[in-house]
Amino acid sequence: MDNSYDAIMARKNEIIKNAVGMDFDKFENPGIGFDYEKMMEATGYTIDEIRRVQSLFSIGNTPLIELKNLTELARKCAPEGKGARIFIKDEASNPSGSFKARRACTSVYQAKKLGYKGVVTATSGNYGAAVACCAAMAGLKCIVVQECYDSKGVGQPEIIEKARKCEALGAEVVQLTVGPELFSTVLQLLEETGYFNASLYTPFGIAGVETLGYEIAEQFRAKVGKDPDVVVCTNAGGGNLTGTARGLRKAGCKAKVIAASVNLSGLHMASDNQFNKKSFTTGHTGFGVPYTVNPDHSDVPRSAARPLRYMDRYVTVTQGSVFYITECLASLEGLEKGPAGNTSLAAAFRLAQDHDRDQCIVVQETEYTGAGKHINPQLSFARQNGIDIHFGDPKDEVPGKSIILPAHPSLIQVTDLDLDHMRKSRIKRAVGTHKDELTDEDIKFLVEETNTNEQFVRDAIASL
């Protein structure tokens, strides 16, 4: 068999069809769109069934913790009367140490049900540990493929820790140097092993995250007696936000959903030289922005993670601010967690200062921490790589050159990304060369894709 990059990629659709047990072609509409809800329903599981499956894996029902001291700190930085209550969903309490357990569980359960002997997943993040963890419980084999090293063989400590954890949970870890060809390696492994593709982006994965949003609504109502005003989600590939927002909606919760990513603008994600100049390997704009405007460039033909459909606002925070807030969480709340999951917490800390004191903001995840995956080793690694770390104003931070720890917590800011601009980019991407052939059904698809209205979509198309 021809295993060159192009040859493997040419077999992509057939390999994925065999490896997900789902024919994505049947969701395609005649024009540019596809039936997203039909694809989501094709999992065959209701949210109640997914909750039942997750409980079999001891996943979910994680604590919702009010961060009273961090709220107090935000109030000291806020104008009179401002400073919303900040809550955090302690997803690190899941078996694999992050919300990703929810995302992995449904895929692994489905793989087991369909008779696959193992699962393969492409991830350098917490998802690998989640798949390995669920596969261990289900008695399936597991291969995790990571982008881990630069061309000098230097690995990001955060990713190496995840390799360790995957191995500890019984997985085989395949480690690669920098490059998007990771996906062709995954396809080749799927073909070789006949395992299930536990992709981050299948409907199974995203449906698994819906329980997180649903639980937030339920727990919040029980604890506070109302719905939260805002839910902040760290955004990378978009699945976290998509699943959470869908779950909130299923629970009838109208909280605003705000996406937050670490600002890594200026760094190229496929750059060998810059790979170890970034101090965050996920939750950053390098994934968050492209996956928002073009969700369908993952390892499945149509991604179930479509964050633009659900986000009300998209903000960025700096690396230094996230490290800072991670230390605040330890020092003020006694909760030592991994930094990447605290991206949304840094945003929430600032957003709280714009909201009234009786309003409530939920940060919907924490992640486990450990060697390599912790504020101290990540700052240490950055310093070793020549990154200038100092106290100052985070707005002066230059990704890849400096990490500026706020000289005072009031200096933590959020920067809004232009959502309308991203919506127009999404439309441009989806329309491609079909501008003159668009049907009413296509327009309806674009309205849903961008969470806008017909006028917005028609204006955007006219300006192409």
């Binding site: 061309s151 997985a171 496929a270 605040c328 330890a330 080793p377 690694f381």
Partner: protein
């Protein structure tokens, strides 16, 4: 020298530079795509020699033997004084000073 049955790490070039994806920045394109996996060595081999391993999932994979009994060395990093300072600062603002 690695012995048959040893747990080893092997290294492979998956794609030489000329066979890599065209959509890569220059600094990445000049390098091959490399891969490391671990498994039980199937025959005695010198370090640097190509040999076959059987991985945790039972896959047979071939590559240059690079390490015998590979282990993780990542840790909590060097002392970062700023981390202590953050804690001190925010505790003081939130809870007040010693007085």
């Amino acid at each position: 020298m690695a012995r048959k049955g040893d747990w080893v790490q092997i290294h492979n070039v998956v794609l030489p530079p000329e066979e890599r994806s065209s959509a890569l920045p220059e600094d990445t394109k000049i390098n091959p795509l490399e891969m490391w996996v671990k498994g039980y060595l199937q025959e005695d081999a010198e370090i640097g020699e190509v040999a076959e391993v059987v991985t945790r999932t039972g896959r047979h994979a071939k590559g240059e033997v690079v390490k015998v009994n590979p282990y993780f060395e990542h840790n909590f990093g060097f002392f970062i004084p700023e981390v202590l300072e953050i804690g001190n600062t925010v505790r003081k603002i939130t809870f007040g000073g010693d007085e």
